[in-house]
């Protein structure tokens, strides 16, 4: 079974720095910058659960599956 990989992006222009994605991502993919806005720091850890997409009140986050490697 190949390991699924995901591209996670945050639209910084509309992020309101609420901290929800940082608190609820089970894989700690996000950190914050000097304005407390979300930064995607460890996308390789993303499992594609989409919790961040569902809970971001401002629809800033998109999670897209990028590739599937044959040998994992």
């Amino acid at each position: 079974m190949g390991k699924k990989r995901f591209n996670v992006t945050v639209d910084r222009t509309i992020c309101k720095a609420c901290g929800i994605c940082v608190a609820f991502c089970p894989m700690s993919v996000f950190t914050t910058d000097h304005d407390d806005k979300a930064v995607v720091s460890a996308p390789e850890r993303c499992t594609g659960c989409r919790q961040c997409e569902l809970l971001c009140p401002d629809f800033c986050i998109t999670v897209v599956q990028v590739e599937e490697t044959a040998d994992g």
Binding site: K16, C18, I20, A23, F24, L54, L55, P57, F59, T62
Partner: protein, 275 residues
């Protein structure tokens, strides 16, 4: 933002006005996901809202929308459904809107059982006007109108609606966003008056005043206090102390839907007109 937002939201009105971390955005996301799953055409959906932060949702949704007056959304919605029965009518209200000023409209809408779906944003406070307590604020909470803590017991909106005769009643939260989408889909499909109470959070006018340090902490509270209705049935009563049930709470198909009843009146009147 993704395809769903571009399809169902008025993108020229984005970003929305709600405060950082407010639950309203999460509910709006769950709602458009439900509409997408239901497969309704945008033109056959009517969204009606009252006044409050929650009521602003109709400025953002790209359907037939009407932002009405405080507490009266259900009255407008009733008129819309009776005159245009083909429309799928959704009504958005805050806790103050639905059970304080609009409480009478709510109980009579439940009693009538007209085929509409009400989504009640219960953030336990008057958000828009600065944090006055509402009929759903828990006892001993702080509000601008209760600096020493509230003294009134709180209303259970879902139970109130079951008691008043609504035929589909569910409770979700902004934290359990996937469940919320499911509940809205089921409520919309139910032929009769459906109520989905959404336990949500106002970080600014409730949270800050009541020792919640962040919006995330308020979501965590929902996660820890919402108990699936099926699981709650098997739990001893004392374990449910301070908690609330989530999921589908009530459904009945025994009470006639109002349009059918009203249809008989239209038919009788038309027959009388014949020479």
């Amino acid at each position: 933002m993704g395809e769903l937002h571009e399809k169902y939201l008025r993108m020229n009105k984005m970003p929305h006005i709600w405060c950082a971390g407010c639950g309203n955005g999460i509910i709006m996301g769950a709602f458009i996901t439900a509409i997408d799953r239901l497969g309704y055409d945008k033109d056959e959906v009517a969204a009606v809202s009252g006044i409050g932060c929650s009521g602003r949702i109709t400025g953002y949704l790209d359907f037939n929308t009407i932002h009405t007056t405080h507490g009266r959304a259900l009255a407008f919605a009733t008129g819309i459904k009776l005159t245009k029965p083909r429309l799928k009518v959704f009504v958005f209200m805050g806790d103050g809107d639905a059970v304080a000023i609009g409480g009478n409209h709510l109980i009579h809408a439940c009693r009538r059982n007209l085929d509409m779906t009400a989504v009640i944003f219960n953030n336990h406070i008057y958000g828009m006007t600065g944090g006055q307590f509402s009929p759903t604020t828990f006892k001993n909470k702080s509000a601008t109108t209760a600096p020493y803590g509230t003294t009134d017991p709180d209303f259970d909106i879902a139970q109130l609606c079951i008691g008043a005769g609504a035929t589909y009643v569910a409770r979700g939260t902004s934290y359990h966003a996937r469940l919320l989408t499911d509940l809205i889909v089921k409520g919309a499909e139910h032929p009769g008056f459906s109520v989905i109470e959404v336990i949500t959070h106002c970080p600014v006018n409730f949270g800050r005043r009541n020792n919640f340090e962040s919006p995330a902490q308020m979501l965590l509270w929902q996660k820890e206090h919402g108990v699936a209705a099926r699981k709650a049935k098997a739990m001893p009563l004392e374990d449910m102390e301070g908690k609330f049930t989530i999921g589908e709470l009530y459904r009945s198909t025994e009470i006639p839907e109002y349009l059918e009843e009203y249809g008989r009146v239209i038919q009788a009147a038309n027959e009388e007109k014949q020479p």
